[in-house]
């Protein structure tokens, strides 16, 4: 390995925050590719531009994605990163690990790759950063052997992810870890064999705090909620009352003003039907308030980032759905199949589902997936009177000249 100066990058080893430069240097001790990456990067820092080319198509037998091809723009100068592909591995739900599993990842990656990883990629995968084309298949084979599988890339279902949920959170309204695991497994074909207009993402958050940012980061956002009324433990309320101003910190910030703290009785009451389950009061007083008993999730569709039509946030399609392992998440899976089918049929190439729905109208989408419209889907009804009518509706509502129904 050639030792080269990296004065600019060295600046990024200063300071208190852990340094990725240090990490690359550590990898470089064992990997020439990692060493060369450092040089390419130093050059980028000097020239203020990237040096990677578009990825060609690389992959493993049987799958259409899971590996991102990457090539340096001057292969002669940097032969060890001439090919420097990324392997995406499906992470365990909630990014829980035992050390044995992690060491297996390290060992296989040490054998074939740069020794560099992202824990984790922004979509959720274990990202193995930098390997040669010839090693892709062996890497996959060994990981497969060890119980791993590839994540998504291309126009397919991307690797779903989920919040820690019932694993460690009192707020979880459904089993995010199981849902993510079960549903990822259900849609293996959709994940591994790109065949849609574009990518599609699912993220599972156990409650409206949305710790996976699913509403912004996924085409389908599954956000835990409840149908009945939140539960208040008045004893615990009194304990909180002793140390905080419940009215100011909780009641006054409730978006629907449906909480009242009675200073005299020291009791907190809620108008259940007005609560929009925003989680605020529960967040501030987790010992005293908890979600209702009838739990499930809201399903929202359409989230994505900026390109092309603007960033979209997901919007409500199903206000409340039971999400139960007992019935194998059947209702959700069934819905997703209908949604993807509709999108597959109507979406243009490189058009995310949110954009397709926006282009064709929510009405067409709802009809297509056979979901009945409810006011929860919108903040407010349309302001324009540009309604489409079909013959059925006309027949039902038209009036003959004598005033009788048609």
């Amino acid at each position: 390995m050639t030792e080269k100066n990296t004065p600019l990058l060295d600046e990024l080893e200063k300071g208190k925050w852990p340094s990725f430069v240090t990490e690359i240097k550590r990898a470089a001790v064992k990997s020439e590719a990692a060493g060369e990456l450092l040089q390419v990067l130093e050059r980028s820092y000097k020239e203020r531009r990237g040096h990677w080319k578009h990825g060609g198509i690389v992959g493993v037998r049987g799958y259409g994605g899971g590996v991102i091809g990457r090539y340096v723009d001057e292969p002669q100068t940097y032969p060890n990163v001439a090919e420097f592909h990324t392997v995406r591995l499906l992470q365990p739900s909630g990014w829980f690990y035992n050390t044995k599993t992690l060491r297996t990842v390290c060992d296989i990656w040490e054998k074939y790759g740069s020794g560099l990883t992202n824990m984790h990629g922004s979509t959720g995968d274990i990202i193995l950063l930098g390997c040669k084309t010839e090693h892709i298949q062996p890497i996959f084979d060994e990981f497969s052997e060890a119980g791993f599988d590839l994540g998504g890339s291309g126009s397919c279902l991307r690797t779903p992810n989920c919040c820690v949920g019932p694993g460690r959170c009192e707020h979880a309204c459904y089993d995010t870890l199981e849902a993510c695991y079960n549903i990822t497994n259900e849609f293996m074909d959709e994940l591994h064999r790109p065949m849609w207009p574009y990518k599609s993402k699912i993220k599972f958050s156990g409650c409206a705090n949305d710790c996976t940012s699913s509403i912004a980061r996924s085409d389908c956002s599954v956000i835990g909620t409840w149908r009945d009324t939140l539960r208040i433990d008045q004893e615990a309320v009194k304990e909180y009352a002793a140390k905080m101003n419940i009215k100011a910190a909780v009641c006054d910030k409730c978006p629907t003003s449906c909480l009242t703290f009675n200073a005299e009785t020291q009791e907190l009451s809620v108008v259940g039907e007005d609560c929009t389950r925003c989680m605020h009061c529960i967040n501030v007083m987790p010992k005293a308030i908890q979600p209702g008993k009838e739990k499930g999730a809201t399903i929202l569709i359409g989230g994505k980032s900026t390109i092309v039509q603007s960033a979209f946030m997901s919007w409500v399609i199903v206000p409340f759905m039971k999400m139960e392992a007992e019935d194998d998440f059947a209702e959700f899976k069934d819905l997703m199949r209908r949604i993807w089918e509709w999108w597959d049929e109507h979406g243009k190439s490189r058009e995310r589902i949110g954009e397709t729905i926006y282009r064709l109208g929510m009405t067409k989408f709802l009809n297509g997936i056979e979901v009945a419209p409810v006011p929860q889907m919108v903040f407010r009804p349309r302001a324009n009177p540009y309604v489409f009518w079909n013959q059925d509706d006309l027949d039902r509502s038209g009036t003959a000249l004598d005033g009788s129904k048609l």
């Binding site: 409206a208 949305d210 509403i215 956000i223 909620t225 149908r227 978006p255 629907t256 039907e273 007005d274 609560c275 929009t276 389950r277 925003c278 809201t298 929202l300 359409g302 979209f312 946030m313 997901s314 919007w315 409500v316 206000p319 409340f320 926006y358 064709l360 109208g361 929510m362 009405t363 067409k364 709802l366 009809n367 419209p373 409810v374 006011p375 929860q376 889907m377 919108v378 903040f379 407010r380 009804p381 349309r382 302001a383 324009n384 009177p385 540009y386 309604v387 489409f388 009518w389 509706d393 006309l394 509502s397 038209g398 009036t399 003959a400 000249l401 005033g403 048609l406």
Partner: protein, 352 residues
């Protein structure tokens, strides 16, 4: 020879002396009783304005009648409001009660101030326009008759501003009203190819369609309408008489609510559709009057003090409004036009 470009009559000639004297120096107002405004100037002078409802479509006899009254009680000065009410301008307090008695005796409608229903801003309808999907004056008459008790009292939670437009051109500017009554067509235009060939500018006609439903048909020297794309806005008919769109069986009325234009408290807002269709049951549109009364009474029963219709609905949430109003929600109420996205609920917060 007519004088060109001389502009409107000068308003200064129309102002009673009390206004000339207190011009720009009014201090405050009170509403001593429904329909009567008392404006007090810095000088202490008091001007009483007595507001009288009109059908807007009036004969010259009506105008002459009010002139007679104005001469007697107002030194010959009066005005109209932005909502087509007459205001008698009384400078002499002693004449106020006699005027009110006179108006009562003659059957005039005094009201429309403060927390009341005022006159409905409206349009031509079948009286004078070529594109209406409903009548204007008739619907307004039916609705105002029904809500009369709210015109001559001030018992509403807040002002109620209504607008009616007989077609989507919205000459009644109903799009930002507390309650908007909008005439809607519901079937695509019928193309009269003859008329088109006789001189319609086809490119303009094609361009007029908001949804791109019209395309040229060069073979026929005419156009074709893709009926699936047409949402019956009638803009093509405005462009060309060849695109007749009225349809007695299917034309009717849509109700939108919750708009406002004042900046008081909340910013101005558009009205939102809550009923996509009510039939054109002339002469008294009972479905429409009933639907409006129901919404209005729900608002009265549920709004906080001073809350306009839209402020109330936004506070409780539209989903709750539909439950309370027992109005069916349908896909027709979901926006699918250019700015639809901002109406989609991109939030996990909602009521059931």
């Amino acid at each position: 020879m007519a004088i060109l470009d001389q502009g409107p009559p000068h308003y200064k000639k129309m102002l009673p002396p009390i206004i000339e004297e207190n011009y720009g120096k009014w201090k405050y107002h009170e509403i001593p009783r429904p329909g009567v405004l008392k404006h007090v100037g810095e000088s202490g002078a008091a001007l009483y304005s007595v507001r009288v409802g009109t059908p807007r479509l009036v004969s010259i006899d009506f105008i002459r009648d009010v002139c007679v009254i104005a001469d007697e009680y107002c030194d010959g000065y009066l005005r109209w409001t932005t909502r087509n009410n007459v205001e008698f301008l009384v400078s002499d307090e002693a004449k106020l009660n006699p005027l009110l008695q006179k108006l009562e005796a003659e059957g005039y409608s005094v009201g429309g101030t403060g927390r009341s229903v005022s006159n409905i801003v409206h349009t031509q309808g079948w009286v004078h326009c070529h594109t209406p999907a409903t009548d204007a004056s008739g619907v307004v008459k039916a609705v105002m008759d029904d809500l009369y008790e709210y015109f001559n009292t001030m018992k509403l939670p807040a002002k109620l501003k209504m607008g009616l437009a007989c077609c989507l051109n919205m000459c009644g500017a109903a799009h930002c009203s507390d309650i908007a009554i909008v005439g809607v067509h519901r079937t695509p235009p019928r193309i009269n190819h003859e008329v088109i060939r006789k001189g319609t500018e086809i490119p303009s006609l094609v361009a007029s369609c908001p949804t791109g439903a019209i395309r040229p048909d060069p073979k026929n020297k005419s156009v074709i309408v893709n009926e699936d794309k047409c949402m019956y806005c009638g803009n093509c008919y405005t462009m060309s008489p060849a695109m007749e769109i009225y349809d007695p069986k299917n034309d009717g009325i849509a109700i939108l609510i919750g708009g406002k234009t004042s900046n008081a408290r909340t910013s101005p807002s558009f009205s939102r559709m809550v009923i996509p269709f009510l039939p054109n049951t002339a002469p008294r549109w009972p479905e429409t009057t009933e639907a409006i009364r129901k919404i209005l009474e729900l608002w009265i029963a549920n709004a906080n003090d001073g809350e306009r219709v839209g402020e109330w609905v936004e506070r409780i949430g539209w989903e709750r409004f539909f439950t309370l109003a027992e109005l069916p929600f349908s896909d027709m109420l979901i926006d699918d036009y250019i700015f639809s996205r901002e109406t989609f609920r991109t939030s996990a917060q909602f009521k059931y």
